[in-house]
């Protein structure tokens, strides 16, 4: 039983990070109908910034959580302004390709400026672990699970009840209608990218002590975030969180009780099953229509 507990906690830890990564992807997609394949690179930049703050400059750890998400959000908003806004009238394929190569460019820029296999970042908490019925839970693990999920939930609330959140939902539903209601496309799109970038930056700060900072982090997070988003339902913020958790726990259980070699393929197997059985995802947003 303790063994199962350990596996579930480990799965939840990675799942919480996947949820955060998926959430940023879904926010941008929900507002702008763009799948941002540069999202993993934003998260990698967040993790790298975390290394600079915590290790290089040795500032207090909390500053990484406070400074980095808005910083990466601003980078994402600037990229939207400089690169994606001119492509707004281009077809979807062009925009997707632009984000793919934007992600590659950001990763390569990092590789060229800091050519090392891995940068290690210590955890925020290093105290004694909690023991629940033989299950060890470190303070860092608890912080990652609880912190990531609380922040994700706060983002869902902001999106649902905040003015700009309403604007993004309105834009996603009907661009022309939203404009007629007074929402600015430019401002809403830029805010969506800011929020998506901030979520990616936050995912980077959470993942840095768990996985270290490397170029490979970009691919690892975009693939996990994408799969989690699709499993949950790509237009559902709640689904992104649940999809991330489900993915992390499923990977962990499969590796522990089937084979460690099965860990990587289980996420794609899960993706195929969900796409075949429920293409709209496991937790899609309910759509109410007045008739």
């Amino acid at each position: 039983m303790a063994e199962l507990g350990l596996v579930l906690i480990a799965g939840a830890k990675f799942g919480a990070i996947y949820a955060l990564a998926a959430l940023g992807l879904v926010v941008v997609h929900k507002a702008t109908k763009t799948v941002n394949f540069a999202h993993g690179a934003f998260a990698m930049l967040g993790a790298f910034a975390s290394f600079l703050v915590v290790v290089h400059w040795q500032w207090p750890y909390w500053m990484a959580y406070v400074l980095i998400p808005p910083l990466i959000g601003i980078v994402a908003a600037l990229i939207e302004f400089l690169i994606l806004r001119p492509l707004r009238r281009a077809d979807m394929f062009t925009v997707v390709i632009a984000t793919v190569f934007l992600g590659i460019a950001l990763s390569e820029a990092f590789r060229l400026t800091y050519n090392t296999e891995l940068l290690a970042v210590p955890g925020m908490f290093v105290g004694m672990p909690f023991i629940f019925g033989g299950v060890f839970v470190t303070q860092e693990t608890l912080w990652v699970i609880v912190g990531a999920l609380v922040i994700s939930s706060a983002c869902v609330v902001l999106f649902r009840y905040g003015r700009l959140g309403r604007g993004m939902r309105a834009m996603a539903s009907n661009v022309r209608g939203a404009q007629l209601c007074g929402y600015s496309v430019d401002r809403v799109y830029m805010f969506a990218w800011f929020l998506g970038g901030a979520m990616a930056g936050l995912a980077g700060v959470f993942v840095a002590p768990v996985s270290g900072v490397s170029v490979e982090l970009s691919i690892a997070l975009i693939s996990a975030g994408f799969v989690a988003g699709v499993i949950g339902g790509f237009d559902s913020l709640k689904g992104a969180i649940l999809g991330g958790l489900l993915l992390g726990i499923t990977e962990s259980l499969a590796a522990a009780y089937i084979s460690s070699a099965f860990k990587n393929c289980i996420s794609f197997l899960l993706l195929f099953i969900v796409l075949m059985w429920r293409p709209e995802g496991l937790f899609p947003e309910k759509v109410a229509r007045r008739v």
Partner: protein, 401 residues
């Protein structure tokens, strides 16, 4: 035939013979050798998961070549390095072919680890280019023996495996069951076979778990070890994989484990990942760890000056091997008596005894290397290392079993 025709034929033969005689010295010039330079080609990964091998390979070689060239070079010629990035087997083979066929290098250095060395093995044997395998432990580059392929500081897996296992028994430790955590890619797999053979021969109880390259979650493997009451773990993989595996083991409550790491994981960069890494062991392919004595401290200072700033985890094993090995190549070139032909070079290399940097004014950061006509493995020694107060230290030299 008329007399005029005889004359013309004789004249033509004379002209051809004359041209041939003037061209002869040009033809005799070996590939990669000019009046001012000797070109050495090298391959290694500068980006990607294996960059922790290839990048120090390039930097260590360049530092040594700069030092040699500042002292006038070898045989009145500067040594020039053509370093090609290569990560995958296909890239490695393409890079080697480019260096040999287009750049026409005098000697080739494989600074690529087992993946690149295995990919290039057949080709370098076939074309006969003098080749130095810096980091590849794979038997594919070592067997069958070839007169043009030499191996330096990295010992064969049959030597490394008993050395690794011996560290479980240091200071009276008696492992009940050893867990082997091995990467599924080339170099951990090369060592794994030798480790398993050795464990079976010694009738040691062990459990095996595997992980993919760049893995970060080892929960399932560690839970399996816990289930099997493993009290000692050998990790065959990179420092990042080993670091996160040990960190997670502690998070899972596995605190009384003796950890022994493959040489590729013995790096300063593992300490920040784990936090308190004291007691972790592994082998190092050089006689002293960076910071351990004045010679390696001086090496570190020179490398830092050369790079501008020292990246995290550097200098590592690969910086030091590349530096020392470049001096071995230079010594082999000098040993030709400046008759720079491939045959003379191979003969000179095959007769080197205790070759190392100090003979040419460098720093002895690597084990001295000796070769014979029939044994092209330059070094058989390993440094057994342990982390004390957050720093790796070589605590004994493991001799050839």
């Amino acid at each position: 035939m008329r007399r005029g025709s005889y004359l013309r034929a004789a004249l033509a033969i004379g002209v051809v013979a004359g041209l041939a005689s003037t061209a002869a010295p040009v033809r005799a010039q070996e590939p990669g050798v000019s009046d001012t330079e000797i070109t050495i080609g090298a391959i290694g990964a500068l980006t990607g998961p294996l960059a922790f091998i290839g990048t120090p390979g390039r930097d260590g070689m360049t530092l040594a070549l700069n030092e040699i060239n500042q002292k006038g070079g070898v045989c009145g010629r500067k040594l020039k390095l053509n370093y090609e990035h290569a990560s995958t087997p296909a890239e490695s083979l393409a890079a080697v072919k480019k260096l040999v066929e287009q750049d026409k290098v005098f000697a080739l250095v494989l600074a690529s680890g087992s993946t690149g060395a295995a990919a290039a093995a057949d080709y370098v044997r076939q074309v006969g280019v003098p080749t130095y395998n810096l980091y590849g432990s794979t038997p594919i580059i070592r067997e069958p023996f070839s007169k043009n392929v030499f191996h330096g500081a990295i010992v064969p897996v049959e030597v490394a495996a008993p050395g690794l296992i011996s560290m479980f028994y240091d200071e009276g430790h008696k492992p009940q069951k050893i867990g082997v955590l091995a990467g599924t890619y080339a170099f951990p797999q090369a060592t794994l076979k030798a480790v398993e053979d050795h464990l079976k021969a010694q009738k040691v109880d062990y459990a095996l778990e595997k992980f993919d390259q760049s893995a970060r979650d080892f929960t399932s493997q560690l839970v399996s070890f816990g289930r099997q009451k493993v009290d000692s773990v050998l990790i065959l993989g990179s420092f990042s994989e080993a670091g996160f595996a040990i960190k997670q083991a502690r998070e899972l409550g596995m605190t009384n484990i003796r950890w022994v790491l493959d040489g590729s994981a013995v790096s300063r960069a593992i300490v920040p990942i784990i936090g308190n890494a004291d007691g972790i062991r592994g082998y190092f392919n050089n006689p002293a760890f960076p910071g351990q004595n004045d010679t390696v401290k001086e090496f570190e200072a020179r490398l830092k000056t050369f790079l501008g700033s020292m990246p995290q985890g550097r200098p590592n094993n690969y910086d030091m091997i590349a530096y020392g090995s470049t001096y071995v190549v230079a010594e082999a070139i000098q040993g030709t008596g400046c008759q720079l032909t491939r045959d003379k070079f191979l003969a000179s290399w095959s007769s080197l005894k205790d070759a190392g940097p100090t003979k040419m004014g460098g720093l002895d950061v690597s084990f001295p290397e000796s070769f014979t006509e029939t044994d092209h493995q330059g070094n058989y020694r390993l440094g057994a290392t342990v982390v004390k107060n957050g720093e790796w230290q070589v605590y004994r030299v493991i001799e050839r079993p």
